[in-house]
Symmetry: D2
Subunit: 352 residues, 4 copies
């Protein structure tokens, strides 16, 4: 019963198989190999247009380097207060952007709104040197709360960003999970909705270290390869990042993996609700935040389940656990089994 | 006939096998898994003492973060003018150290000398704020010229570094190759000779992305995990870096790989010399810089050999190619075959 | 009627006179002159102990370099959300600290509390690499709201900082104003209450560009001269910063200037209250935030008064302007005249 | 007999007088005052075109921020090996440019040549990510050797810079001294010869802290005010920088000051030569590097002269001191007196 995190899983079979397959022989180093070229082309196909794509190997690198490509002196990056770039990257964005400031915006369901964004940006009027200057807006799709921005919500945020002439970044660490839920195309969820640069995450969804920074504005990408190298993020045997992605895209492995993870999350959520429980947020991707009795949590741990208590502090009152309740965080992945889901719900029921 | 670079090879069989082996099941993320612990312990064993070891995935990250751990404002890092940190890392060391300066020191055979180092450091007297301050000395073992520092040479450089109270860093991108040549222990070649921090390279010698920063002074390592994370170099599925190293160390795979590469390089050098040719530098590891007739180079390329012309500029007159000669760079690895070596020498001979 | 800001004033007569006096002849450059030595000694006297003092010329430099002296990778600096370092220094602290994060803490009266600080720091537990690590606590004395921390309040904040082993920085841009109000010694208000490093501001109080970074912990100051020079903040003709401070300290000019400014602010506040008005915060230094009728504001502007509307957004409901009211910001200085105060109150009364 | 440095002098009378004159009354802060506007306009006049000008207060700030305006990731800045930015700014350029690398170019007479520059830049081919990328070329006018680039030399260097599409920066710490020697216009010596951005120095020539960064390409200046503020280099009472420049430009004080300094230097050089001595480099501005007998140096010091021994190391053999000779460095300024020059030559003669 491992629901600790999607990054506790290993690599999906298709990914591992591709790694093995592409291991034989020699290949040019530093991303100049034919496989890297081929997978880069694949991104054009996936996004139905020419993109500038760069492979890196960690999500922090993808996010921070993407933001660095739009860095300005005294620049301010706007995102939800709970965004990964805000709280989980140990100042990597601040460092890579030469001292950028991350302005956090509160918002229900882990999402920022055009209004919240507009107000936050209003504190940084154009031309007032003291406060710094607006630089980027970043949204996470799916969010840290396991929710999803609709295409309309993305477009509306873009409008607000555009009003201040700043680009829109999407942290797609769980891009595929969101995509499957929305049932739209990658193009719909990104550039057609106004996204300028995407951190395309594959690690959490079945690779072991493969992320891509995808620029829909080639001009902004102009010096990105130097940013990546300056950050120590250009791999000599870069073909192995491409190899992972080859397996990832093969037979739509990525969509199947995300679909499975989402399905497992949905079953968990349904099971919780069927037992009269609730979740802190709607379960729209592969994260579930059930609010359970503490004794249920204890029973789960006793049964060997891996899952974490989520800090109640910060949860708005309508969703916060009350009395003897506790909020947990569970994450599913391609590796989550139906057996584990069933086992989880059984323990839950017994400890109700 | 691929002699382009050791990073054109894939992963050694033992490494790929370990990757597959450790893929099953779940493991805690971000380097908190048991395998990472076990491989970290292995470093204590290899170096015959307690060390503080941190895994990263690129050599630039290893070097730059190691240097960042000793960064000082206005700090100057001393190394050979041809060192990788000087010319091949796109300012990653400068960036990670908050604007460090890399002072290059000329030196025969790709090596710095205590005298050269002392003179270079003399330009930065203690307490003269204008010039900056001495921060670190870095040597490459093996060097970019394919040569090796003897233990006495390392110790002598350390003495000079110690006279200015700066630590000694070793860029061990080709650590195993040097180790095999010297026939000493890892401890001998590092802390016993005065090395304070080591970039332990495994990528070029058969991993696909595995490097370790090894501190022999735990105090200096105190905040390294934050430096690594701030740089975006902490992997979520970090067990796969450890897995590579598990395969790398298994049955002394690493020493066998380096031994083979060195042996292939030696055969190439012997073959060149047997045909009356010469190499720019002594062949002490897995790099060969033969000086050939240009027609030989052309014949090799025509035969499909992968190898590069090395810029004559910068070579001292006694080793520089003359007339119709050209200096080439060839690198061997675990993947270099005897057949390729034989084929190379045959073409050479035919085009003599 | 100029109440725009204390930095709209020029230099106090004693300061200008000292500049002229110390202009004659030659003096060693870069802070190695006898006058700099003498004024540095003066700081020992003022603070009743050995201090390490460094002169700079802007408040942003003083604050940011002081914080940089305690920078850590992934470091988080805690201060009030309205602190100058948070909102008015265009990421200078973030930049100088290599990507530090500034965590803002809400708090009544422009002050943070031990509880608020403790909660904010709790989000960054020791050893959790993802969030970063606690680095510094910074308080402003006087605050941006024109209020003053009592010695007990400072000591209590220090206790909380000490519980996480982080140093306490004081932004003393209006140090003298606070000192005069408290009627204590500089030692009382700083190291005796637990301050580790002080930005000693003199510019706003009668110099034209003179600030001092004062370390009460000499060890922390060890590399500060390199930080200052690396930031471009070491002046060649540094004696002129010292000269300003010579005039500043002469005959307690600084205390008289601050006393006058505080007195003018008090009269303004009294006048407002006597007319039935109120101020957003207690007037404890040289800033007044009166809440007036908008027609009064218009009358003042018509009469040529310089003063600014203060954003109501962010003011808690009990102090925010209501209906046709507006919150203004007025700052007094050594240059504020009684005539201007009288004139202001007269306009106010007429437009009541 | 003070020839230690031009920054040992105080402020010229006209400058001090302007400081006093502009001290009265209030003025808007942070460079928004009318005087700053007026002096900015003056720069348009001086340079016979629209320029974007920003005041700072140290030469390191001017140089480093100017270079930062053209920073690129992995960027390399090319200058003479002895340039101030290379050896006397404690990595301020490296820091402000986010880890820029300073490539030093050797060259006779303290000057780089188009050939030397071209060769240095050739080590950084476009598109080779490993080495970094060319970013800026910087020349010093006058040079650290007290020599002057001719207009033709500047134009030729510009051609080489243009061939790689990088801008040309001029460190004009001794701009006026060079200008007076060349007898050309400021426009001739800068943008008409191809300079893109100028550090216009006034501190060494009679101000106490006044430098201007002058962009001839307004687009490149677009975010400079944020760079300046982020570096802590925007002064609140900025009118005092403008005030210094008001005095500096008044009645061509600046040209007279530089003319006097140059004249004093010329007399020193003539006197040395008349006594059979020589200087290491041609004396074209306000620096003299006489090569004297050591006993002459000792006699000068005994007589109270302030001047420094210049490191012989690094001097090419044709100009290096031989036998009992020593190379000294002497700098003149507006404050150098004819009496001191005469006294110097007298001591020299007596100790011959």
């Amino acid at each position: 019963m491992n629901f600790a995190s999607d990054n506790w899983a290993g690599a999906a079979p298709a990914v591992m198989s591709a790694l093995t397959r592409h291991n034989s022989g020699f290949a040019p180093a530093y991303g100049t190999d034919p496989l890297t070229d081929r997978i880069s082309e694949k991104f054009n196909e996936i996004f139905e247009r020419e993109v500038a794509v760069f492979f890196v190997a960690t999500g922090s690198a993808a996010n921070s380097l993407a933001l660095a490509a739009y860095a300005r002196p005294g620049g301010v990056i706007f995102s939800h207060s709970d965004a990964h770039i805000q709280v989980d990257e140990c100042n990597c964005p601040e460092f890579m952007t030469g001292g950028g400031k991350l302005a956090g915006i509160a918002g229900a369901d882990g999402k920022i709104t055009p209004q919240g964004l507009g107000e936050a940006m209003a504190a940084y009027p154009d031309g007032v040197v003291h406060h710094g200057q607006v630089a980027t807006v970043s949204i996470s799709q799916a969010t840290e709360s396991g929710t999803i921005y609709t295409l309309e919500e993305i477009a509306a945020i873009k409008e607000t960003a555009r009003s201040r002439a700043v680009p829109l970044h999407m942290d797609g660490a769980r891009f595929a999970n969101a995509l499957v839920t929305l049932g739209c195309t990658p193009a719909d969820m990104t550039w057609k909705a106004g996204v300028d640069v995407l951190s395309f995450g594959a690690t959490k969804n079945g690779c072991w270290c493969a992320e891509a920074v995808v620029f829909f504005d080639p001009e902004a990408a102009r010096e990105f390869e130097y940013l990546r190298k300056r950050g120590g993020h250009l791999f000599s045997k870069s073909r192995f990042v491409a190899a992972q992605l080859d397996g990832y895209f093969e037979d739509d492995t990525w969509l199947a993996a995300a679909g499975h993870a989402n399905e497992m999350a949905a079953r968990l959520a349904d099971g919780v609700r069927n037992q009269g429980g609730r979740t802190a947020w709607a379960v729209e991707a592969n994260e579930v935040f059930p609010i359970l009795k503490r004794r249920q949590f204890e029973a789960l741990e006793a049964a060997g389940a891996k899952l974490y208590e989520w800090p109640a502090k910060g949860l708005s009152s309508n969703i916060a656990p009350a009395g003897d309740e506790v909020c947990l965080r569970m994450v599913t992945s391609f590796a989550t089994t139906e057996e584990d889901v069933t086992a989880f719900l059984k323990v839950l029921s017994e400890a109700a």
